[in-house]
């Protein structure tokens, strides 16, 4: 504690009490309301209905696939951003971060225009390989990856930056190839950050709604993930929507706790 530059203030200045309480209420009350309103007595029954189980299973498949795809595509990109000095690096980083602040529904529209049957690339995919992404599970994975990838890249880039380059140089002077240095030195040292990035990426993919419903549509068992099922159920069967929301909230809280212990708490 003593090493921290900012000293902790002893009381809360009076002027700040109201905005702090307001922020606490804004963030906290909706969560409390969700927990209070949840159909606790019928939770097991609501969550074991075929519709919910289908959405749950699909959500797991899609979000885990999106995380795997993000890792595959994102780790090399993060390494590039962290380690290679090239013109346009800042521009590329900004581009990578764009889906984080872009409204997801806009992302969905952009994906349609890119990978839809009449899209820039999609028309070619359709003609050359008879591949159509909208309304498919692959489309849902793609939408989730588009939105979640930046979370992995940013965490991984920070992880690579933390790795002491002298350790890599030492390994190289001892005769290790570049690939071996990366696999045996860089990657293990950056692993905690990569794991945290993957966890955040997975959480974002799990919660994805706007890009998915816009690009992949909404079909139970194919593209109707949990958030979509919550949205549809809210209109006609709110108890199921509350129960599913509770599951998503629980996952989010568990993830934050896990990340805090493994990574942020240090």
């Amino acid at each position: 504690m003593s090493s921290r530059r900012a000293t902790r203030s002893r009381g809360i200045p009076l002027l700040l009490v109201a905005p702090i309480a307001g922020a606490g209420a804004l963030l906290g009350v909706p969560l409390v309301a969700l927990i209070a309103r949840a159909p606790w007595g019928e939770l097991a029954r609501e969550l074991s209905s075929p519709e919910v189980l289908t959405a749950l299973r699909l959500s797991l498949v899609c979000s885990l696939s999106a995380t795997a795809l993000s890792t595959l595509l994102g780790v090399p990109l993060a390494w590039l951003l962290a380690r290679v000095d090239f013109p346009g690096r800042r521009l590329l980083r900004a581009l990578v971060m764009l889906p984080m602040i872009l409204p997801p529904v806009v992302g969905g529209v952009a994906l349609l225009l890119a990978f839809g049957r009449r899209g820039l690339l999609g028309a070619w995919l359709d003609r050359a390989f008879d591949v159509q992404l909208p309304f498919t599970l692959a489309g849902a994975v793609l939408a989730e990856t588009f939105v979640a990838l930046p979370f992995l890249v940013i965490a991984a880039e920070a992880g690579f930056r933390q790795v002491d380059a002298r350790l890599e140089q030492a390994a190289a002077t001892l005769g290790a190839t570049r690939l071996r240095v990366f696999a045996r030195v860089t990657l293990p040292l950056a692993a905690p950050a990569l794991a945290a990035g993957a966890a955040l990426c997975w959480a974002r993919a799990l919660g994805e709604f706007g890009a998915t419903i816009t690009f992949a549509g909404n079909l139970p068992g194919r593209t109707q993930t949990l958030p979509l099922a919550v949205y549809i159920a809210l209109e006609t069967h709110p108890e199921a929507a509350f129960a599913m929301s509770l599951v998503l909230l629980g996952v989010a809280i568990a993830l934050l706790v896990a990340l805090r212990e493994n990574w942020m708490g240090r």
């Binding site: 839809g116 049957r117 309304f135 549509g217 909404n218 194919r222 109707q224 549809i232 209109e235």
Partner: protein, 249 residues
């Protein structure tokens, strides 16, 4: 006066002036309307504002069950118009409506296909073809239920690729070319003129949608709400709706 006090006084004055200025223009009537009413109700709102100035209407368009769910959660709607009676009945039963709903328009179903109908869709029977990407509304939405009634009447089994949340989403995905066909309302095809083509569904298979409108019971309701409802049912309002392809009630 300290600078801070002066600022506060200035803000208070601005607020007072602001609300004073607004008093001459009554708050708009907030109308919740089914997605299929998007274009027609905007036009109806303009005609209403011309006929009943300074009263005016503002709209929130969404799938009918979404509107009902919002009102159940306390959304400040003055008037609600849905695409079927069953959805609105939920509000009537819970006592959220000020009076019994009145049907103000009817609508027919139509198949929306891509411009020029490149896949040669001729009727509902074609929607069972495996080379077609067909999308429908979810069964929670009136258009989805009507579409299933029509398919049942035609004896056609369809495997939709997506169950969209409102009828405009179906229309737009057909317009974008992502889906080959979708079942929407005649009025949707007409308002999307040029972006999609329509394939008529014969009367024997078609389902006629009835649109009810009602006042929402709430404190501080707008006096203009009743006027808007009456306007929708008046000859002038009916003329606007007819222009968009709606059938009289």
């Amino acid at each position: 006066m300290t600078p801070r006090l002066r600022l506060a006084a200035g803000l208070a004055l601005a607020l007072a002036l602001g609300s004073g200025a607004r008093a001459e223009h009554p708050k708009p009537v907030l109308v919740f309307a089914a997605a299929s009413l998007t274009e027609s109700f905007r036009a109806l709102g303009e005609a209403f504002a011309r006929a009943h100035a300074p009263a005016r209407a503002e709209f929130s368009f969404a799938g009918s069950p979404a509107l009902v769910a919002q009102i159940e959660s306390g959304a400040p709607a003055d008037v609600i118009a849905t695409a079927d009676a069953a959805t609105l009945a939920r509000l009537e039963e819970s006592g959220a409506l000020a009076d019994a709903p009145a049907v103000f328009a009817r609508n027919r179903l139509e198949i929306a296909v891509e411009r020029g109908n490149p896949k040669g869709v001729k009727g509902l029977a074609d929607l069972a073809r495996e080379d077609l990407v067909v999308i429908l509304c979810a069964e929670t939405v009136p258009a989805g239920r009507y579409a299933r009634e029509a398919l049942k009447a035609a004896g056609v089994a369809v495997e939709p690729k997506s169950l969209e949340e409102n009828v405009k989403a179906v229309l737009n995905k057909v317009a974008l070319g992502e889906a080959d066909a979708g079942i929407v309302y005649t009025t949707d095809v007409r308002s999307a003129a040029g972006r999609v083509a329509g394939v008529a569904i014969p009367d024997a298979q078609n389902t006629i949608a009835s649109y009810p409108i009602a006042l929402v019971k709430r404190a501080g309701a707008q006096p203009g709400a009743r006027a808007f409802l009456d306007f929708a049912l008046s000859a002038q309002g009916q003329a606007v709706l007819a222009r968009f392809g709606f059938l009289p009630p």
